[in-house]
Every structure is written in structure tokens, then in C-alpha cells.
Subunit: 209 residues, 2 copies
């Protein structure tokens, strides 16, 4: 299937049937996340891959009892950096330069400009910027999952602080931003599965100038 | 190419050669944006498609003189709703229900909960939430463009207020969040084209629990 067919096939699955997603499909989706673009290539988030049933049950409680979390075989949690620090940013530039065979001096001006910009922001602005990058990865993950004919449900609706607590994110300098259960639709229980996909019409969404 | 191959092929093109992207490829990328998931299906943004050379020159000025903006044949600007209003949210629910043949009463409880949540937020929180949804669409657009072998450069680095002014976004209740030039790489001028793609290693990015 091509990208448009993938996007048409997928929907925010409301009921999953418990069937396990094969590991190679999960790995494929994770690789799509890993390869996703991010601002200055910082990839300012981590992804937690949860399969433990007890942990999933706890997450479900923090996510207003949405059943997909326990009926999915794998749950991804995207957790963004709570702020940009010199250490974090420098470490990305260091790795890039090592792999590309560049001297650090080649990127020092850009790195310094970036740090100055982040330092001038509040911690909340830093976090919001980092969180947005995770949304680009969500975009890739949704297309990749559909290509693998794996169902998924992008979720923002959960108690972020409760989830941070469950996953000990605070001590890692992370804050949860998105939850993405991966599994298979339960066509007998899912009220959305046979509904028409509705999108903003092109003439409203897009303006040519 | 599959999604992973698309993601490997693409990169943030630093120099474009002026060659025009065929309209059907632009339409394909726009349709991928249109089909992208968003929170509660609100799609709280618009996309401006700019081909006018004078306008591109103005945008380039507002974007720290990045040459891709004038050397791309098409420039997309993602502009998010400046806030969620009852009118905007109701209009999405009304359209969905009409197309799905549902009575508005079927979604009233959910719609009311959503409005209560947005009303409890500051206008900036509303805008940030809307802006994030545009980043999911960016994720789809990058994969779709690569599938069409169209180069692109996701940009956050521009003077948002200047761009809002150029495109009269304020009066439409919109604020610019992302710029995406579409075109073709100039392999003789692009310093990044032959650099290795570097990503956070899986063992750092992903934690299995």
C-alpha cells in the first residue's frame, strides 16, 4: 500500500482484540519513529515500549480506562525532554560530528546559537518545543503501523502526571506526551470501525496563493 | 518504496535547484496532510500553498534568508488555529455527524466535555495544542513527499509574526507554525546531501519495560 492508502486504512481504533503484534512489525514501527525528522536533529524524546500486563493495567487507569491500552499487545509512550540542557544538546552534536567525521568546530556556531535560543526560553517553552517533535514521530508511526496492517490509537487524553509517576519519568527528565497502543481491531466491538472517515474538505483546509 | 525506505531517502534539503514539482505530486502530498489524524479529528490548522515568486521572496526574508524557500517550486505554510472556539469545534462535529448520518445528540456529551476542557485553558495553551496537530501532518507530509521523490525542508526557524503579517493570518484567527518548501535537491550546492544520516541509537531512544 502507498502512503495515501495507509492513511485511508488506518483509524483511531476504539476496541482491540488482544491479538499480539509480531515483534518484527513492532520493530518496523519503532524504526520509523527513530528515522523521523526533528528540529536540528535533536530527537528530544524517548519512547517507552510496554508489554507488561500489570503496567498496562496501571496505564489504562491513568488514561480514563481506555480499553485499547490493555487489549493492545504493545503500548508506546512518547516522553519528551522536560527541557533542553547543554549536556543533552552537546551530546547530540558530538555524536553527529563523530559519525560524519567532522570537527566540533564545524558546528560550534550553530550549536551555540541553538543553546542561546533555548536558554532564553522558559522551561515550559523548552518542553513544548520538545513535545512537538514527538508529534512528527507519531505521524511517521501511524503511517508505518498502517503499512504493517497494525492498528493503533493515538492518545493525548490521559493524566500526564499520573503516567509520569507510573513510569518514573521525572527522574529521567522526561514528561509523557503521547500514548500509542498497537494491536488489532475488534470489529465486533468497535463503534468507529464502520463509520465513514471524515476530514476537512480540501477547499477549507488548503488555500493556494 | 516502503515507509522506512522513504524515511531513509529523505533529508532536510539545504539547497534546491528550482525545478518544478508536478501538480499531481503536490496534490498527493496535500492529500496525505488532509488524511492525517488529529486530536478528536478537529484538524485545527490550515495549509497555505504558495507558488507566487514575490510572496516566496517575502517569506524567505522572514525565514532568515533560507534559499530553499525561493528555490522550491511550492512552499507549504502550516498555520494553526489561534484558539479553539465553540463555533470552530461545533462546525467539525456538525460536519462529521452529517456525513456519518448521526444525530448531533450522539456526540453532544463528548463535544461539551471537549469545549469545557479548551475553555479552561489559556489561549496560548489552546494554540499550542492546535500547533502540535500540525506536526503530525508534517510527519505524514515528509513520508508522502519522499514516496513521490520530492525533496522538502521542514522549517520552524522563521519570524512567526512577520510571516503571519505577510499572509494576513491574524485576521483569519491563524498563526504560522511550520514552513515546508517542496522541490528538488541541488546536489552540487547542498552541503548535507552526502552526509550520513545520524539518529539517536535505538538503545537510547527506546526502552522496553
Amino acid at each position: 500500500m502507498n502512503v495515501l492508502q495507509n492513511l485511508k486504512w488506518r483509524y483511531a481504533t476504539k476496541a482491540m482484540n488482544g491479538q499480539a503484534v509480531p515483534q518484527e512489525k513492532v520493530d518496523y514501527i519503532l524504526e520509523a519513529i527513530q528515522l523521523t525528522a526533528s528540529s536540528s536533529g535533536l530527537q528530544p524524546y524517548e519512547v517507552l515500549l510496554i508489554t507488561n500486563p500489570e503496567l498496562k493495567a496501571q496505564i489504562r487507569k491513568a488514561a480514563y480506562d481506555q480499553s485499547q491500552i490493555t487489549d493492545a499487545s504493545h503500548v508506546l509512550v512518547f516522553a519528551a525532554w522536560d527541557q533542553y540542557t547543554e549536556e543533552r544538546v552537546n551530546s547530540v552534536f558530538k555524536r553527529n560530528n563523530e559519525i560524519r567525521g567532522l570537527d566540533d568546530s564545524a558546528t560550534d556556531a550553530y550549536r551555540t546559537r541553538l543553546l542561546t535560543m533555548f536558554n532564553a526560553q522558559t522551561q515550559e517553552q523548552n518542553f513544548n518545543h520538545a513535545a512537538k517533535q514527538a508529534y512528527i514521530a507519531l505521524g511517521s508511526a501511524l503511517v508505518a503501523a498502517a503499512e504493517q496492517e497494525v492498528d493503533s490509537t493515538p492518545m493525548e487524553g490521559f493524566d500526564n502526571e499520573a503516567l509520569d509517576e507510573i513510569l518514573n519519568l521525572k527522574e529521567k527528565g522526561l514528561k509523557s506526551v503521547l500514548v500509542l497502543p498497537l494491536g488489532y481491531r475488534d470489529t465486533t466491538k468497535d463503534w468507529l470501525v464502520n463509520m465513514k472517515k471524515v476530514r476537512t474538505p480540501k477547499e477549507e483546509l488548503i488555500t493556494q496563493i
